[in-house]
């Protein structure tokens, strides 16, 4: 009798262990698939945002980008800038995505350091030179930075979102890019693309 009970409990114990482990596994798998589906939705959202950005970036392609005068923040004097040579123009605004602006300034600086052929210029939509000086200080950029009031930007800014990047050649907008907040990879890809284009000398016709 004792032996039968002992076998029964021994069997029951192991059955209980197996059931508990199975339930734990099922629960963990359920949580994992829930997370995966949340990540899947997040990835879809990011892809949509990137796609929208790329569509918006097409708007100004081929349009004329004029030579202009703006205040150089270092000299505090108006300077005339020409854009007949290959140029990367970064447009900033006080109300733009702050983190994006710092990121793109640093990205532009890397490109500026590695490409003698590229004219890199930043123009900030403000009358306050000190705003631009502060950004220049924390990002340690060395390429020219200018400030101008908002009426100047209406000529070629194609979005209400800032920052904006424009690749200019012979005063024509050849490429544009609207960075996405928190999407560092997307920005990196644009700058890699620009580097390749410069190296391929597609612009030097």
């Amino acid at each position: 009798m004792f032996n039968k009970n002992h076998k029964f409990f021994k069997f029951g114990f192991w059955a209980l262990i197996i059931i508990v482990v199975t339930l734990i596994n099922l629960f963990l798998n359920f949580e994992k698939s829930k997370n995966n589906s949340v990540n899947h939705i997040k990835n879809l959202d990011l892809k949509s945002i990137r796609l929208q950005t790329l569509m918006d970036s097409k708007i100004p392609l081929g349009k004329n980008f004029p030579n202009f005068s703006a205040y150089n923040i270092v000299s505090d004097k108006k300077e005339f800038k020409k854009f007949d040579e290959l140029s990367l123009v970064l447009l900033l605004a006080d109300y733009g995505c702050n983190r994006c602006q710092n990121r793109e300034l640093k990205n532009c600086q890397k490109l500026f350091e590695s490409n003698d052929e590229l004219n890199v210029v930043c123009v900030m939509n403000t009358i306050d030179r000190y705003s631009a000086l502060r950004l220049r200080k924390v990002t340690q950029v060395k390429f020219p930075m200018f400030v101008q009031d908002s009426s100047f930007f209406r000529n070629f800014s194609y979005s209400r979102n800032y920052p904006q990047l424009l690749l200019i050649h012979h005063n024509k907008i050849n490429d544009t890019f609207l960075p996405i907040p928190e999407d560092d990879d997307f920005s990196e890809w644009f700058f890699e693309y620009v580097s390749v284009k410069i190296k391929d000398s597609l612009y030097f016709n």
């Binding site: 923040i73 605004a93 109300y95 702050n98 306050d128 030179r129 000190y130 502060r134």
Partner: protein, 339 residues
């Protein structure tokens, strides 16, 4: 933070009212006696002193929203610590907006998503605040280290009592229904507590001070309007596209109540931003019963950043070098003379 709010913040918060000109107090003002200039080390790359708080005039916490850094410094300007949430919370999205000391000297950071982080009095990394905590534009603490936050959210701005970890306990507070959009768009107004846990509140649209007892019941309204104070008459639009158009028109020549600061244990400082062509910051001093203490109106070109033990602190930005290098801003400590 919404882009428009950032722009409006900039309009109000920037010390550079005059284009390209450094704003500095060059001469001693009749209401100020210079105590010292706290110079910050050139080894630090500081974009700006966006916000600061003082703890017993011994330590200062400085937020540089441009460079995304928070520095804890001593009274001589020596760096104690650069606050870094990654020490205890790797990968934390660090976008500091403002900082406050509590009664024990611990440091609360208002961050942009996630919204709050806590450090010890020497910069020790404690961790994020509760998940339910939201960024407030102004903060104060009671004697139990509970947090009281000033929230300018729509549709219902509120004062919120929270645990030291940032969990909501209750909402209270008086806000005018006629100016909800202005309250929402500007980081103005604020709250302080006194040593008896009374709470004092100001809102952007009027110079009135609302006093709450330690049960958070409204017990008094102190009314004093400086001669230069011109009330906002209409609210701005709720539509983002129309806000910028409205701001200049509605705020032209008007006065905004910027903040309220505890000047010392029994004196309150209320600061106003005058938006006329002759732009200035006006301050009024009161005792805890709402009696005005300054005989004459006091006006400065710069905003008071912090105050403690009768001292007021301003930020000074010297002009750039010929090479365009901006020196670090410094902190000017003045004794406020108002009697």
């Amino acid at each position: 933070m919404e882009k428009l709010t950032i722009l409006i913040l900039f309009i109000l918060g920037s010390t550079n009212f005059v284009t390209g000109q450094p704003i500095s107090i060059e001469n001693e003002h009749k209401n100020l006696r210079l105590l010292k200039e706290i110079k910050l080390s050139d080894e630090l790359i500081i974009g700006d002193i966006t916000k600061m708080d003082s703890y017993k005039n011994e330590k200062f916490v400085i937020v540089d929203a441009v460079g995304k850094q928070v520095y804890l410094i001593d009274s001589l300007g020596q760096l104690i610590k650069t606050l870094n949430p990654e020490e205890c919370h790797p990968g934390f999205h660090w976008y500091p907006l403002s900082a406050f000391f509590n009664q024990e000297g611990n440091i609360y950071i208002i961050n942009s998503a996630p919204w709050g982080f806590k450090f010890g009095s020497n910069g020790e990394c404690f961790g994020p605040l509760d998940n339910s905590f939201l960024a407030a534009i102004s903060f104060t603490f009671n004697s139990s280290n509970q947090i009281i936050g000033y929230y300018n959210t729509l549709p219902s701005p509120t004062l919120r009592l929270m645990t030291p970890e940032g969990k909501k306990i209750k909402d209270f507070g008086f806000f005018p229904k006629e100016f909800l959009n202005v309250i929402h768009r500007f980081e103005c107004g604020g709250i302080i507590t006194d040593k008896k846990d009374n709470v004092y509140q100001v809102n952007i649209n009027s110079p009135d001070i609302f006093k709450y007892d330690k049960e958070y019941k409204l017990v008094a309204t102190y009314k004093h309007k400086p001669s230069y104070y011109k009330n906002i008459e209409t609210d701005i639009s709720s539509s983002p596209g129309e806000v910028m158009r409205d701001v200049n028109r509605i705020l032209k020549d008007k006065t905004l109540t910027q903040d309220i600061i505890l000047l010392d244990k029994d004196k309150i400082l209320v600061q106003f931003a005058q938006m006329s062509s002759e732009r200035f910051y006006g301050i009024e001093i009161f005792d805890l019963n709402g009696n005005r203490l300054n005989k004459e109106e006091i006006k400065f070109r710069l905003p008071v950043l912090a105050a403690e033990n009768g001292s007021v602190f301003f930020r000074q930005q010297k002009p750039p070098t010929a090479e365009g290098e901006l020196p670090n801003p410094s902190i000017l400590e003045y004794k406020l003379i108002f009697k």
